[in-house]
């Protein structure tokens, strides 16, 4: 094996390692604030249950989006239901909050914390209408 080959393998390893560190730093940079005090706090099943219990018709429209998805922009602009809840998914909280602030969206906003998997959201944009009954039927 030549020195050249060893060097390029070392470089590959270094790039992957540096990448991992940067990504962890970015993930760590997301504000870990208590629910209710940040623009888009994490939302899980329990929190959605509470929101549904407080909702007037016991039903909610969840709009899932990501900051990196160009189609999400047009989709979010079309929302005319002020009670629809925005859920940022496949993205970190800081980026989701930045996107919502830049678009000046008045809807309540959350960051996905397991809901996407529960409601089988695999692509974005996606909408899910949930009721207390339908959510109770979804297996944990």
């Amino acid at each position: 094996m030549t020195l050249n080959a060893i060097n390029c393998r070392l470089l590959s390893a270094v790039i992957v390692l540096i990448g991992s560190c940067f990504a962890k730093m970015e993930a760590g940079a997301s504000p870990q604030v208590a629910s209710g005090t940040s623009a888009c706090p994490p939302m899980d099943r329990t929190k959605l249950m509470r929101l549904l219990e407080d909702a007037p018709e016991k039903r909610l429209n969840l709009v899932f989006f990501s900051g990196w998805c160009s189609d999400c922009s047009a989709h979010l602009k079309k929302i005319n239901d002020s009670s629809a809840i925005l859920v940022g998914i496949f993205d970190n909280q800081a980026r989701i909050e930045k996107v919502v602030a830049r678009m000046r969206l008045a809807n309540r906003c959350y960051t996905d914390s397991g809901l996407g998997k529960l409601l089988e959201v695999k692509t974005v944009p996606a909408e899910r209408f949930v009721t207390l009954d339908s959510l109770r039927k979804v297996p944990r």
């Binding site: 094996m1 030549t2 050249n4 080959a5 060097n7 390029c8 393998r9 470089l11 590959s12 790039i15 992957v16 990448g19 991992s20 940067f22 990504a23 970015e26 899932f64 990501s66 900051g67 990196w68 998805c69 160009s70 189609d71 999400c72 922009s73 998914i89 496949f90 993205d91 980026r95 930045k98 996107v99 830049r102 678009m103 089988e120 959201v121 695999k122 692509t123 974005v124 944009p125 996606a126 909408e127």
Partner: protein, 302 residues
């Protein structure tokens, strides 16, 4: 262009099986997803496991000499390939892919099959795009290693080179892929440094020379979730070394262009048609010109 029966059968089988697996859903795949076309399989943050099944046929092989003149290639007249690739996300911003080609060379009615060179690639997304800032590109760092599994021209046993399926040299690529995909008109570029390993092939040690592969891509959203991409690839390699000695005038320069149509018939399923022509535009030197057409099905499983 010639696709034999077995490949057409494979393609039909893939189409039918994948179509049967498509699950109905109200949501649609993201149209901005795309890259500099440097690798066949790119995973997006919502994708955990993705497969690529493609069939391709290459023909119109011609040698390009040191002066850039085209001449008849003495090897196979066409090559068909079935390419399987699998991509797995290690995190939302990091994924790896494994690519394995199965190839078939043809010459005057005779044909030989072999497994080609496997490729292991890793991509880390340093910067994700943002639809509120479309001028901000996606930036990915890429590293890949091609294993020299297939026989090279220096190792073959036949004079007609029908049993040559690879370069015979393992190669590592390190690079960056930049893509602006948030607008209807998309574009980007990728640059990769190529580091082949020196190996004993036949009686001599052979070193192909370090290289640089650059790709420029321009794309257009065709409405809905379909898009067309076109691009130019420039590949340069330093002079080759045979037995430790530089071979004067052996540097390689190859230009090619490609056209790719991505059609998304169903959620998380993409059908890709590609055409590429290598060595017939701009200046070329010490390479083999070829045309290739491929059809591939990309499927997201998780």
């Amino acid at each position: 262009m010639r696709l034999n029966f077995s490949f057409l059968f494979c393609l039909s089988a893939i189409f039918v099986v994948q179509l049967a697996l498509v699950s109905p859903s109200v949501s649609l795949a993201c149209a901005s997803c795309g890259s500099g076309s440097d690798d066949p399989l790119i995973l997006w943050p919502n994708e955990q496991l993705k497969s690529y099944l493609g069939v391709s046929t290459s023909n119109r092989f011609e040698t390009v000499d040191t002066q850039g003149r085209l001449g008849r290639e003495s090897g196979p007249t066409s090559r068909d390939a079935l390419t399987l690739a699998l991509g797995k996300a290690l995190r939302n911003d990091l994924f790896m892919t494994v690519t394995l080609p199965f190839q078939q060379n043809r010459l005057s009615g005779a044909s030989l099959r072999s497994v080609g060179d496997p490729l292991l690639a890793v991509r880390w997304t340093w910067l994700l795009p943002d639809f509120t800032a479309p001028q901000q590109p996606q930036i990915q760092l890429m590293a890949s290693h091609k294993f020299a599994h297939a026989r090279s021209q220096q190792e073959v046993g036949r004079l007609d080179l029908l049993d040559a399926f690879g370069t015979g040299l393992p190669e590592t690529k390190l690079g960056v892929d930049v893509f602006w995909g948030q607008s209807p008109i998309k574009g980007g570029f990728a640059v990769g440094a190529l580091f082949p390993e020196e190996r004993i092939l036949g009686r001599n040690s052979v070193f192909a020379g370090n290289g640089l592969r650059s790709t420029a891509t321009l794309g257009l959203s065709l409405g809905g979730y379909n898009k067309v991409l076109a691009g130019v690839v420039r590949e340069y390699r330093e002079e080759r070394r045979d037995g430790g000695r530089r071979v004067a005038g052996s540097e390689v320069l190859a230009h090619s262009y490609f056209l790719t149509l991505d059609w998304t018939p169903a959620n998380l399923q993409t059908l890709r048609f590609s055409f590429s022509d290598r060595g017939r535009i701009l200046t070329n030197k010490n390479m083999i010109a070829a045309s290739a057409f491929s059809v591939a099905w990309l499927s997201t499983w998780e």
